[in-house]
Symmetry: C2
Subunit: 310 residues, 2 copies
């Protein structure tokens, strides 16, 4: 079913995600007028120039008046402050949704800041790459074939959730609904943990502390850290490069995500450490048979996963 055309869409944070959402809805002819609000004047001017938005909003009351949908796409750490700012100006029928990478904290923030408006609040998360940033990287096809997770509150009306779901489907996305807790658990496994692993690997390899100049096992980190004269990194190839790609992600953004989803991320790190300790144990005991079998399980799981990718 084609969703109704949005007469007025307000996008707060017109970067990669906000800009791509605007372009995708425009391409689908599902929006008439887009007001963009953002901190960087240069970025907003470019958003206007490239046609991602029709107007740069200068006052919240004016921008939000008669808005059908408000899309929040700024860093997750700023969401609560923005909710507080927009709350007084939201019309009763204005639907609010967001694109934050963590959802329990957003739900909690909405409960504090939008209590009269929860029936029209639809927390969301488009799972789409974010190595790039800024509206210059925005792309109408960014969400095509990607997963979008909505985590409606018990108070959220089905009608509001359906409007948001249909818009994402019009962007080419697959939409899933689940609880905020389930979302945060899943993301901790497939995104937050991998980022921790990549950051840790990059720091480990850049400052290898396992060998003193005499080749002996050195004392713990801080004590004798040194960069080896012939650093291992100069020999690193494509395997290493792929493993640390996401270590290039924004430190501020990942600080916010990890803190927001702290408990789930810690559980993931602990379970991962146990998995790695299992491999270490097989190695230490020279158990080639079980080691090969663990590697085979991983290879097979990856193969199955890739085959099941839509």
């Amino acid at each position: 079913m084609m969703p109704a055309v949005i007469d007025k869409l307000v996008i707060i944070g017109v970067g990669l995600i906000g800009g791509s959402f605007a372009l995708a809805l425009r391409e689908a002819s599902l929006v008439r007028h887009i007001v963009g609000i953002g901190r960087s004047r240069g970025n907003m001017q470019r958003a206007l120039a490239m046609g991602a938005i029709d107007e740069i909003g200068v006052s919240l009351p004016a921008a939000l008046r008669d808005a059908k949908l408000v899309f929040l796409a700024m860093p997750v750490g700023q969401t609560e402050a923005v909710l507080a700012q927009i709350s007084p100006y939201l019309g009763p029928d204005t639907i609010v949704t967001d694109a934050g990478s963590t959802k329990q904290n957003i739900v909690a923030a909405a409960r504090r800041q939008l209590p009269p408006h929860l029936q029209n609040f639809v927390p969301g998360h488009p799972i789409a790459g974010a190595e790039l940033s800024g509206v210059d990287s925005a792309d109408a096809g960014l969400f095509h074939g990607r997963n979008v997770v909505l985590t409606p509150l018990t108070e959220t009306s089905t009608a509001a959730a359906n409007v948001v779901a249909e818009l994402w489907e019009a962007c080419g996305s697959r939409v899933f609904r689940m609880s905020a807790a389930e979302h945060d658990d899943i993301l901790a496994t497939i995104s937050h943990l991998p980022h921790m692993l990549a950051f840790a690997l990059m720091n480990h390899a850049a400052l290898d502390r396992t060998h003193g100049t005499d080749g002996s096992l050195s004392p713990p980190p801080s004590a004798q850290a040194h960069v080896r004269p012939r650093g291992p990194l100069q020999f690193a190839g494509t395997g290493f490069r792929d493993m640390v790609r996401i270590a290039g992600s924004s430190p501020e953004m990942w600080r916010d995500i990890c803190l927001a989803n702290r408990e789930a991320v810690i559980r993931q790190i602990d379970a991962y450490q146990a998995e790695l300790a299992g491999l270490r144990q097989l190695l230490a005991s020279g158990n080639g048979k079980e080691l090969e079998s663990a590697f085979s399980r991983a290879r097979d799981a990856r193969k199955r996963w890739l085959e099941n990718q839509p």
Copy 2:
């Protein structure tokens, strides 16, 4: 300086590496006659058909007679047996080199199997991707711009090492010389550890054990392992995909590599676990400032590394 043309080259194991070495030397007009030896008849026939080799060797004595260079490019676990087989038929001037991913074990094997021939034994390791295998994937350009590490023994003559170095340079590679122990340490950091991390991540994510159906922290692995009804993997994106790419590598090959370099790999796992535990600690204590600073160090180290890549 252009190396002398090799009148007769014997390649044992004509797969991706052996085949690419043959094609690259041919392209550089540095070899007259190439004899290939391998287990798979079909693979050898294809090597012949595509011109990677001129002749399929059927008897070791005949193949090795008057050979100027023997290149060993079969799985590392078979190297010692092959050294024992070829040892009786090596002429005094025949240079032997290999392409194994670990070097201390190869050096030890050579000391056991080639004692009269060590002055002409040049252990080597071209660091070039090996997700593909078989001569069908061979490519004259595979080693172009790649690093090759040679780990000559104290007995190895400079002349023999220079011959091998010049051939690799003719393939477009950068050649480094270091001790086998240093090689194995470096590879443990930039290759063997990352493979362990990827295998562990894939197994962890495929069989997430951190949550019982009630959402509580479950008992250790074996006890209550279950696949969640809505598996996290179906939401995994490009970040995860890159992190587990090398978990698709050959289990047999990686079993051999890890066991061959067991001590260095265990040291790397221990140091990595300490690094990851450091991030967990910052997370547990809610230390956003230090967390962001650790992420920034990783991002900066990656940036510097990429910029310094030749």
